[in-house]
């Protein structure tokens, strides 16, 4: 959960040493198309490995037939159901069938909802995406300036307050912050609802909460809950990067040229620390999707996170498998986009690619 500390030290190294790469990423070498194909092939292998692991792991849980049928179902009905879902086949046959269906775009049917898994997940995805995006953007736009300030004046009272707050955001488990938010704003003050999604409006035929005022009142608490950890992380990342760059010769040279502190901060320092920040932004977007599991459960937010927890407790295997595959896919996609952003931000890498 707090892998950030380790990740951060890796990332900070990249400011001054672009040769150091991130988990999952590789430096450009050769032409763009070759690079793209190489990454694609790699992604396919990774997806295959993950699908096998996920399938094997998930199909080890309990006996789904108990979930599908009432305890007093006859033996004949039991066997018919087992056959219908292919549960009598050996595991590898089930996996092979699963892969074949997967290739055809069929993720199976949910045992519990009795509808295609893909449709089920896609219907829940917008709610999660809007929550996650709001949380990550909010955390970045609030966290980076505050963190830079804390790094610029590390001994000031404001910097200490910002850091103390970020230690809290970093240390306190998300679910606990959720509880406190509910207790404060929903139970005690009664300002905001404790759960649900509120009124939605359609955009491109998809319902979103952020389009209505009522929706915002439902969105506020879970988004705040989900963003606090990312906020703390952005604060720390920006602070550490700022502190380090402020001590460097580049800043001293800019000062010697008479540039104002404001120019130095937003033209020099921000550009230098933008590289790890964009990376974290991407990677954290993925892990925020994962953390949405907790937030959605607490605030009864009807997204994919709540769906996966419900599926785990009801042993709805196809949903679990499809969800994990989806997350893995998103991660690979994000890693790829982060690498592209990296090259755009760091001219040293662009040069390496052009060579």
């Amino acid at each position: 959960m707090r892998e950030a500390t380790v990740k951060m030290s890796v990332l900070l190294g990249t400011i001054f040493n672009p040769a150091r790469r991130l988990p999952g990423g590789q430096a450009f070498d050769g032409d763009m198309l070759g690079y793209f194909l190489q990454r694609l092939a790699q992604a396919l292998v990774v997806m295959l490995v993950i699908s096998a692991l996920v399938f094997a792991g998930v199909y080890g849980i309990g006996n789904p037939i108990d979930v599908l049928l009432s305890p007093d179902a006859t033996q004949a009905i039991r066997e018919a159901t087992i056959k219908a879902y292919g549960l009598d086949q050996p595991l590898w046959v089930q996996y092979r069938d699963f892969l074949l269906r997967l290739a055809a775009g069929d993720f199976g049917r949910s045992f519990v909802f009795n509808m295609p898994v893909l449709e089920l997940i896609l219907s829940r995805l917008p709610a999660t995406l809007e929550l996650t995006l709001l949380a990550v953007f909010g955390a970045t736009f609030a966290g980076v300036p505050l963190g830079m300030y804390a790094g610029y004046r590390p001994d000031g009272i404001a910097a200490r307050a910002i850091m103390a707050f970020s230690v809290l955001g970093f240390s306190v488990p998300t679910f606990w912050i959720g509880l406190v938010l509910i207790l404060t704003f929903a139970v005690t003050l009664g300002w905001l609802p404790a759960g649900g999604r509120g009124e939605t409006a359609d955009l491109f035929g998809v319902p979103f909460s952020f389009l209505t005022l009522d929706g915002w009142s439902y969105l506020a608490l879970p988004a705040l809950n989900l963003s606090l950890f990312k906020f703390a992380m952005m604060v720390r990342l920006a602070r550490a990067g700022t502190r380090e760059t402020m001590l460097g010769d580049a800043v001293k040279f800019a000062r010697a040229a008479g540039e104002s502190e404001w120019t130095i901060l937003h033209r020099h320092v921000l550009r230098l620390i933008a590289i790890p920040i964009v990376t974290v932004f991407g990677l954290e977007f993925g892990s925020t999707l994962a953390f949405a599991v907790v937030t959605e459960t607490i605030f009864s937010w009807p997204g994919v996170g709540k769906l996966i927890i419900d599926s785990i407790s009801s042993l709805d295997r196809p949903v679990m498998v499809a969800y994990l595959m989806l997350v893995a896919f998103l991660f690979i996609l994000i890693n790829f986009l982060v690498d592209i952003a990296y090259a755009a931000l760091d001219p040293r890498l662009r040069a390496a690619r052009a060579r």
Binding site: M1, R2, P23, F170, S171, P173, F175, W176, G286
Partner: protein
Amino acid sequence: MNGNSPLLRFWDEFVENRVALAAFLLVVAIVGIAALAPIVAPQDPYDLASLALADARRPPGFVGSKGFTHWLGTDAQGRDLLSAILYGLRVSLQVGLAAGAFAFAVGATLGAVAAFAGGRTESFIMRFIDLQLSFPAILLALVLAAVLGQGKWQLVTALVTAQYAYFARTAHGAAAAERAKDYVMAALSTPLSARRVVFRHILPNCLPPLIVVATVQVANSIALEATLSFLGLGLPVTEPSLGMLIANGFQYMLSGRYWISIYPGVALIVLIVAINLVGDQIRDQLNPRLRR
């Protein structure tokens, strides 16, 4: 320039930060109280005979049928919350420390092996670890906890699997940097001194970053365990950790009985924040770039 051993010097510098010192003492105190829970707790929360339903969900300060004051109130089963928290701390610490220790052992070994094996072995191990690191630990732990079922060791296994990669990465980085140094290269070419070099030079040099990771990861394990237990995927009901106490109280919070969730949560947070503060200070002290 006081203190003669490096450890002593480290400690001297550590205690200069009052906050870190307070946090360290707090961690020691919490571990002590948790270890002594059966002696200091007013009630054995696992002993069903000592529970009375008439005492359930009473606010802090309530004097129960057993004649003693429930300073933090009681939970839904009529358990004294203070006792439940002390026992819960015990469980959380056990799980956190066990997970941290195993993850340390597995991860550091793997990382060091990768660094020294080099070649294909190294790139295979590190590729796998990078892949895992790009995947959120909580999801991994969530799925594993679900797959393995409830139980203390199942949970520890899930946590170790989710966290060993951080140790492996750190150990690999440090060991690879050491290995590249000339004296190690020279020593490794003579079989006799290789062992000595590993134990006398390489391990001690890899230890500081690993200790930082370990501090952070123990706090993580505790938080992760609480999260999983809160989601109903962690420990069995017979051994309630702090996370489960919080989860049990959640349903009563909306009706204003805040204490069942809030007090175990406060205990959890104090513990995690204190560990993280200690870890922060250690990291700052070990970071040569911030040293003056």
